[in-house]
């Protein structure tokens, strides 16, 4: 496993995402309320580019007709068959225990800590003044 710097923190605002390629894989980096998460850009169902789907809320209903919007902006909806996944964990809504989109460890590191390494930054210039999103793959 190696750590990869994929973006400056301010590149991905809350509610936004960036799709990066790390070690040949496309990974979607999401900012949910200033926490960062990473999901493989590949739906476990039929291989669709999952991270290009819509970021949505978790719509639930304890009883028919009793609609509730919960966890705004914390779900990703696959652009093809609309399967819903928890951005934080990659778990599908329909079968959280056995159907998941692979999730990656994502951390925020200050440039100061990174400057010495070890990390890989194919396309991101690291400076000590900034904070960075780092994915472990």
């Amino acid at each position: 496993m190696t750590r990869h710097v994929v973006a400056r923190v301010d590149e991905i605002q809350p509610g936004q995402r960036k799709i990066v390629t790390v070690r040949g894989r496309e990974i979607g980096i999401f900012n949910v309320g200033n926490d960062f998460f990473g999901l493989i850009n590949r739906c476990p169902h039929q291989g669709a580019p999952l991270c290009r789907g819509e970021v949505v809320s978790r719509l639930v209903a304890p009883m028919p007709g009793d609609y509730r919007l919960t966890r705004p902006g914390e779900m990703i909806r696959c652009p093809w068959h609309c399967w819903e996944f928890d951005i934080r964990t990659g778990q599908s809504l329909c079968d959280p225990n056995s159907v998941q989109a692979r999730a990656f460890d994502v951390a925020v590191e200050p440039g100061k800590a990174l400057v010495d390494g070890p990390f890989v930054a194919e396309s991101v210039q690291v400076t000590v003044e900034e904070n960075y999103v780092v994915v472990t793959v």
Binding site: L59, A61, M63, P64, H81, W83, L93, C94
Partner: protein
């Protein structure tokens, strides 16, 4: 007790079994006259309705499939007298119980009040001339399906008689069965511990599918399986089993073999369309396995036994199937009421355990 099936005569295989679908037939409308109250009796006589037949389009009485030749009677339609039912089925096979599902035009009438009056009469008739005369018999409450309020009244009227074990609806009516307008019926049934029996047939407010009106009875008959698919999809999608978690539903005379493919499709749809029906928190197949049962006559079996075993595996639960003869409808000859090729273990469950589990009232002694 049901014994091993290998070397016993066909008529012995069913000893002690519970037949979950027999069809006592109202011989003619006059026979119902004693069972109306004074108001409705006069109303009916004024209009000459006692001279009319209320045979349903779903079940033309003389169609070959609806009356096995050796079950025909010298007078009256097949299954229109108790002695025939006893001779052909109850005594012959040594059944422990049979559940009477009366198919009658009462359920399809457009006037809700007339429908309710006729349903009351049918239920009074089944009580007096069948349940009271043979302790093995049980019955479904026939209700005016197009009026939830009046249907509930009839359920409330009869639920106290423990020989009524189910509420009977037709698979195809004016609104899909899961629609909220029908919920008072499910509320009442659940409260009384009565399963909903959904029987093949239609009030023909609509053609059998979006394709329009077919020419032949054969097509109508085959289409009944589609009616069940839609009814089941409706009950699940509308969240009937979420709202009424104690409710059980029995699909009666559906053909059975359509079930796995229909569930696969519903599951697949749910995974993508879940957000439209967010009260569905589990895969539809799980809900159906828990709440839904099916009678086995007719059984649209595949050609080979190996395929049959695959189909049973796909159904995926040995608790779902209930034995039925569908008397007097013609789905088998002689005493071969059990679909062939079924494992003995499943037969025992079908004939006794599953019906007792589905209809708890059967366990009560009369």
């Amino acid at each position: 007790m049901v014994h091993s099936t290998e070397d016993r005569p066909a008529s012995d295989k069913l000893t002690g079994a519970i037949d979950c679908d027999v069809h006592p037939a109202v011989p003619n409308t006059r026979a119902l006259l004693p069972y109306f109250d004074d108001y409705w009796r006069e109303h009916i006589l004024r209009r000459g309705l006692e001279r009319e037949s209320f045979e349903t389009s779903s079940y033309p009485v003389n169609a070959p499939i609806n009356g096995r030749p050796d079950w025909h009677l010298p007078s009256g339609p097949p299954a229109s007298n108790l002695v025939a039912l006893q001779t052909h089925v109850l005594d012959r096979w040594g059944l422990s119980h049979a559940i009477c599902n009366v198919i009658h035009g009462a359920q399809v009438m457009l006037s809700e009040d007339l429908s309710a009056a006729f349903c009351r009469a049918v239920n009074n008739w089944i009580k007096a001339e069948w349940l009271d005369r043979d302790p093995r018999l049980r019955a479904s409450i026939v209700v005016p399906q197009h009026s939830a309020d009046l249907a509930v009244e009839e359920i409330e009227r009869l639920a106290g008689d423990r020989r009524f074990v189910q509420v009977l609806l037709l698979a195809m009516a004016e609104l899909p069965l899961g629609r909220r307008q029908n919920w008072p019926i499910y509320r009442a049934a659940e409260a009384h511990g009565l399963p909903i029996g959904i029987h093949a047939g239609s009030s023909f407010r609509h053609p059998p599918s979006a394709g329009g009106w077919p020419s032949y009875y054969l097509e109508d008959y085959v289409s009944q399986a589609q009616g069940f698919q839609a009814a089941l999809n409706s009950l699940v999608s509308e969240g009937v089993f979420v709202k009424f978690p104690g409710l059980k539903v029995v699909l009666i005379e559906s053909g059975v073999a359509w079930l796995p493919a229909s569930l696969w499709r519903l599951d697949k749809t749910w995974r993508g369309v879940r957000a439209e029906v967010p009260w569905l928190e589990e895969q539809p197949t799980e809900t159906v396995r828990r709440h839904v049962r099916l009678t086995v006559q007719p059984f649209d079996a595949p050609p080979t036994e190996a395929q049959l075993h695959t189909l049973l595996e796909q159904i995926g639960s040995d608790r779902m199937l209930l034995f039925s003869s569908d008397y007097p409808h013609w789905h088998f000859d002689g005493d071969e009421a059990l679909p062939s090729g079924l494992p003995a273990e499943l037969i025992r469950k079908m004939c006794v355990d599953n019906p007792l589990d589905t209809y708890p009232r059967l366990k009560e002694t009369t």
